[in-house]
Symmetry: C2
Subunit: 550 residues, 2 copies
């Protein structure tokens, strides 16, 4: 293989530099993508937007208010939205502005669904019982037990934050000062993230430089390539003049450099075997570099639920709480939704119904979706995620270990510990002591009693922070598989299921639609939920305008 | 070479987990390191600290106030501190609390020195004239023209922030969504940082996997090592099942994944030649991974000068502004400092004098330091750093390009553009349009007129952001080599000068001391300045207690 064989057209700046900010125009673009040019045109005229110069619209801090516009494309059409998570809330917000008459049926007494920020005084319902959250009440004393992160390119969610005035701050995902704990490497002693990462880079660079210098890659590298590659490797791996990695400054110091004659002492050289034996190297070395995890990551100041609260404020009047849907039927070309409210069975008929319930919960609801839809929903797996959080009266991770946000990784059950990015240097803090994303472990933890989960988290946590057990208190957990009307974490599509089953879910069955991040290529992300809501809204606009035209 | 030959003792957790937070005890430890056990003991008794359990002291949010303690080790001794930058301010604060009688002589009308945060209404003096800063006045509309960053391990600076109640927030140093612009790569088109970085990792991993699979490294890798290394490389480089890098998700998308059937389209595969031809790969690919640059990076909310302001508030009474020192003499075993004030020549006699002036400025002041000291100061080079900043009435980098903080790199004169980490999503912002760290370019830019600098920055900037010229206004620059009483950026010690000349500077010449980050292993960092101040304070404590004992 010769490197020249490869295509080398990079992302063109014209592509990149096109505004992608969430705007009315973006919504119309989504709409156009899904519904075709005709519908977009119709919607644009309908919204009175064709006259708005795109450039100006992009810059307006507030989107043009659809309700202020005359032509209402959804007028006279009713939509039942099932579930008041961020998908249902977005649908209610956008469809009501488009003139549809909307009703949101929500099983529980709260909106937000998985967007669950926990604070002192909250009560957490699971099948196994209720936990009361006994944390102090201060702005920064919260834990995002569901979504916690917003990557910079989730511009639709970020756009809503802007529109609603929800302030965002930086979420620290990668922290070179946090810890890696591996029971089978480094003698079980936690090491600093920078030590692990830069020792690895050093080794990789040393080995590749050796191969280059041994002429092992001469068929794929010209001599000019080789020369430049060696320069790059020396920089990348902090190699010495012999292209060896001796241990270097990026991997940190045992004695940090100071003033006077305190030159500092480097950390010792790490063995390749220790690095290679670790789970972290296998699974999470590039976690914070993934498409949805790389800097700059953001979070709403004060908790993720600030977003759903902002939505809910605007659509409160359409939501019926404590109204679990018990069946969903097609009656002619309309939808019939049965639900329970104040002990009574009720029925809501609507022109359309949109289901935003996660599949594991929805499959419990008798419904008229086609066999193909049912099979597709069954083919989609949900994670068994569990999070556990504690209050600390002293931010020992900051004070003792100088960890400001980010993640410490371990091969123990808890998987990771997450430190708050907000309220840095304040006295108290909430630490996420476990974020279990391994389904085996998650199933086990979800099945435990609440105190057993806490004890498990403490036992693991004190391997990483010896002071842990005496510093934290009032642990609470959310075992997502055990949360009523959730029954799982987030959707995971296998390649096979995505190819065979997924596409049908993007199509309605008569008056019945599905929406949520499970019906997107961003499952497990609010951006997927919100984009899915836009997509279904656009399909409805298309449908009612086509009908109107006919 | 066999990997087993290498030492593999990692950082021990006992080492790491020792509190290193800035505390009274840290100060005493610095003191002990420099001055020996005797002095530490004396100081500890002097400060009445021997009775304070270390643990409790570490946890106290406020340090014990030395002034509240009875025994004043510095009583009756006078110290002239020359310069009111962070070094002089720290010295004034700590020495006055130790009972010394201190006077700070500052040449200019402001304290802070290089810790210079620029805001609307400021006037910037250079030899070439004055610039008036015509920016709007809002909390986030500032530019740190000197120090901007605090790495998480600069615990002495962070400790003072805590002590003084200066809130810190995250400083975004690495941003995978920012841009890399290379005139000689990618056809001169800016590409996303993630595209560059992950294409590079992909290539490196593919090449190393190839070498491993060709048995080119069998003498240094066991077959178990090889197997594990391949797993790691596959993950690190996002390689396919044939260990090839085809271009993958971490390098970003031309069309981002969305809802419905929008699966997304990957960016095209980058050529190794484009990557290798870049300055970025040669010089800055690992910039944000350096000891002092890696996450978590912090900044004071509202501007770096919040720190020096907090110091100054506490030592205001000791500072004489507009008092440039004109000579420094030894008279017997005491110091005689001549300075100008209100047009008059004045003299200050003191037991000790501590010089915190940067060397390029200090060498203009006739002084009695030994020939060895003079030679050492001359052997230390200072950078020719220049920064240029603009106001934008619209955060176009956020709105159009979704860049939230961080750096875009270019091989043009400006070197880099820095986006604000504070005030995310607010309307207006200050963008640092140039941070010139190349001495050749810096010398050239420092020599330009103010408008020429601005025009240079605009010409480069619009290669990266086409909308730049019409979006920014009121550019201002600081050419550090042209700032009176500074005459340069920060100290850079060559290995040779460090070995031959540096050590003498850590020693006083009779009553004359030197302090500042140039007298540390953290030159160019406030932490070096503050630690150097502690070191000199400790040496004085040692000296006066030894005398008292004698
Ligand atoms: C542990 C975890 C971490 C995550 N991390 C992130 C992250 O960092 N960033 C991010 O963007 N996303 C993250 N996500 C994904 C994010 O939570 C989802 O994308 C989003 O919240 C889903 O919103 P939704 O409205 O589609 O579904 P949900 O929020 O699940 O809402 C469904 C609603 O339907 C209701 N309901 C269920 N059954 C019925 C019924 N029979 N009748 C009436 N109502 C019913 C439920 O009560 C609920 O209110 C995470 C999720 C989890 C679980
Ligand atoms: C462009 C740039 C970027 C930097 N970035 C960072 C960063 O990100 N993080 C960080 O921590 N550090 C950074 N630094 C370094 C930081 O600015 C210094 O470490 C620190 O500010 C130096 O403080 P000082 O008190 O030792 O010297 P100075 O701040 O230079 O103070 C010296 C003082 O002496 C006065 N003086 C000079 N001559 C006389 C005289 N004859 N008589 C009386 N007074 C006199 C001056 O007016 C000045 O007030 C940066 C520096 C520069 C220039």
């Amino acid at each position: 293989m010769h490197t020249e064989d490869r295509e080398s057209t990079p992302t063109k700046s014209e592509d990149r530099q096109q505004p992608r900010a969430h705007t009315r125009r973006d919504f119309l673009e989504n709409l156009g993508r899904v519904a075709g040019v005709g519908a977009t045109y119709a919607a644009m005229t309908g919204l009175g937007l064709l006259s708005t110069p795109a450039q100006a619209a992009d810059r307006s801090p507030q989107l043009p208010r659809v309700t202020e516009l005359s032509n209402k494309v959804g007028k006279g059409k009713s939509v039942a939205i099932i579930g008041a998570g961020i998908t249902g809330l977005t649908l209610a917000y956008e469809l009501s502005r488009l003139g549809f008459s909307v009703t949101v049926l929500e099983a529980t007494s709260r909106h937000g669904g998985r967007s669950r920020t926990v604070r002192g005084g909250d009560r957490l319902q699971e099948y196994g019982g209720i936990q009361e959250v006994r944390w102090d009440k201060e702005e920064h004393l919260y834990a995002n037990m569901g979504p916690a992160r917003i990557p910079y390119h989730h511009q639709t969610v970020i756009g809503y934050c802007k529109e609603f005035g929800v302030p965002l701050e930086v979420f620290v995902n990668e922290n070179r000062g946090s810890l890696i704990h591996e029971s089978k490497a480094f003698g079980g002693t936690p090491v600093e993230n920078r030590y692990f990462v830069h020792s690895t880079r050093g080794w990789m660079s040393e080995l590749l430089a050796k191969a280059v210098n041994r002429q092992a890659l001469d068929d794929v590298l010209s001599s000019e390539d080789k020369e430049k590659l060696l320069v790059m490797l020396k920089g990348y791996g902090e190699l010495d003049s012999k292209y060896q990695y001796p241990g270097a400054s990026r991997a940190g110091y045992r004695v940090t450099p100071g003033a006077g004659l305190v030159a500092g002492e480097l950390n010792p050289h790490a063995s390749l075997q220790d690095l290679l034996s670790s789970e972290y190297a296998k699974s999470n070395l590039s976690f914070t570099e993934e498409w949805n995890q790389a800097a700059t990551m953001l979070q709403p100041v004060g908790g993720m639920d600030r977003i759903v609260q902002a939505f809910a404020k605007r659509v409160q009047q359409y939501i019926r709480y404590d109204s679990p849907v018990t069946s969903l039927r097609k009656v002619g070309d309309r939808a019939r939704v049965a639900y329970r409210s104040k002990g009574e069975e009720r029925v809501l008929d609507a022109d359309f119904a949109i289901v935003t319930i996660p599949f594991p919960a929805f499959t419990k609801v008798p419904n008229d979706f086609s066999a193909a839809h049912q099979a597709a929903m069954k083919s989609c797996q949900y994670t068994q995620a569990v999070k556990i959080a504690f209050q600390a009266d002293r931010r020992f991770w900051e004070e003792d270990q100088h960890i400001y946000g980010g993640i410490s990784w371990t091969d123990q059950d808890i998987g990771e510990m997450m430190y708050p990015s907000g309220g840095l240097m304040s006295r108290k803090g909430i630490i996420v002591g476990a974020y279990i994303r391994d389904d085996g472990v998650g199933t086990r933890y979800a099945a435990m009693s609440f105190p057993e989960r806490i004890e498990g988290a403490l036992r693991c946590g004190e391997q990483i922070h010896p002071q842990y057990r005496r510093e934290v208190k009032n642990g609470v957990s959310v075992g997502w598989p055990k949360v009523p009307y959730q029954d799982g974490g987030w959707a995971v599509w296998s390649d096979a299921a995505r190819a065979e089953h997924y596409p049908v879910l993007t199509q309605p069955d008569g008056p019945l639609y599905l929406a949520g991040c499970q019906v997107s290529y961003l499952p497990g992300w609010q951006e997927g939920s919100v984009l899915s809501a836009h997509t279904v809204a656009a399909a409805l606009v298309d449908r009612v305008s086509a009908r109107a035209a006919a």
